[in-house]
């Protein structure tokens, strides 16, 4: 999973927190996170990981930095999502680590990411079985 973690808006923070929740709690046994700043800085380990393993990008806004960067440096992604297109982000929501209702919103996003992880893994397994 590659999240934009955009600092300038709340949806960037939501992308970060939701992704980390999936990695830490919801799908800890089958997901990893990639560091977008490191990826953009040219780290070949991050880029080759995204090439080798199915990658889901989670962007905060329609600028889609994570998606564009991954497609440019590693290839097509398995799935992509934009927080502001999936949910209504209240304009007063803080950019800082969410608590209360904002954390609940991050958790709902994490559940959606987890569903997509399951779909990607199921598709990957089907392809492997078909190749055998």
């Amino acid at each position: 999973m590659l999240a934009c973690s955009g600092e300038c808006r709340a949806s960037g923070t939501l992308s970060r927190v939701a992704t980390r929740l999936v990695r830490d709690e919801y799908r800890a046994d089958c997901t990893a996170t990639l560091c977008l700043p490191l990826f953009l800085a040219g780290d070949e380990d991050e880029r080759s990981f995204a090439r080798e393993f199915p990658t889901i990008t989670i962007d905060g806004c329609a600028k889609r930095c994570a998606l564009i960067a991954t497609e440019k440096h590693s290839g097509p992604v398995a799935d992509s999502m934009v927080v502001e297109e999936l949910t209504q982000v209240p304009p007063t929501l803080s950019r800082r680590e969410p608590h209360g209702e904002a954390l609940e919103l991050a958790r709902r996003l994490a559940e959606e990411i987890a569903r997509r992880v399951d779909r990607v893994l199921a598709n990957t397994t089907r392809h492997k079985e078909a190749d055998q």
Partner: protein, 145 residues
């Protein structure tokens, strides 16, 4: 000369790496500095957007003093701001501060814990001080008291 009406006088740009608690400290300290300690004077912007070549973001860093805050020795914030043509006036690294205060190790990426909060507070104070220095330097150059 920048004023509050024209935009921030300093940009503080954290790396926001998702893999390390120290990157979360960098991010949290940035928000504390720009929202709590120096509101209206400093702001942040999206490092990813800058690195992707967004023209507006690049113009902002080229014309405004920047402070970068990196969570690890890879220095992604500093490197990417410099590559984009930004003027990095100060580059801070959370691991350096942690070496000075080894008891303030942040707990986790999402919940940095009480020690991480203390580290973020100290870093935010350093940032506020640095922001003041940059603002007063600019004021001196243009002859404002």
């Amino acid at each position: 000369m920048k004023s509050e009406a024209n935009g921030p006088q300093v940009y503080v740009i954290p790396c926001s790496g998702i893999g390390k608690p120290t990157a979360s400290v960098a991010r949290e300290a940035t928000y504390r500095a720009i929202e709590d300690l120096r509101p209206g004077v400093a702001d942040t912007l999206c490092l990813s957007l800058l690195t992707m070549g967004d023209a507006q973001t690049a113009a902002a860093v080229a014309s405004t003093p920047c402070i970068t805050v990196d969570g690890c020795p890879r220095l992604c914030a500093r490197k990417n701001v410099e590559l984009a043509g930004g003027q990095v006036c100060l580059a801070l690294r959370v691991p350096d501060l942690l070496r000075e205060h080894p008891g303030l190790t942040p707990a986790a990426v999402l919940e940095i814990g009480p020690q991480g909060e203390e580290l973020a507070d100290r870093l935010a104070a350093m940032l506020a001080h640095a922001i003041d220095g940059l603002v007063h330097k600019e004021d001196s150059v243009v002859g404002r008291s």
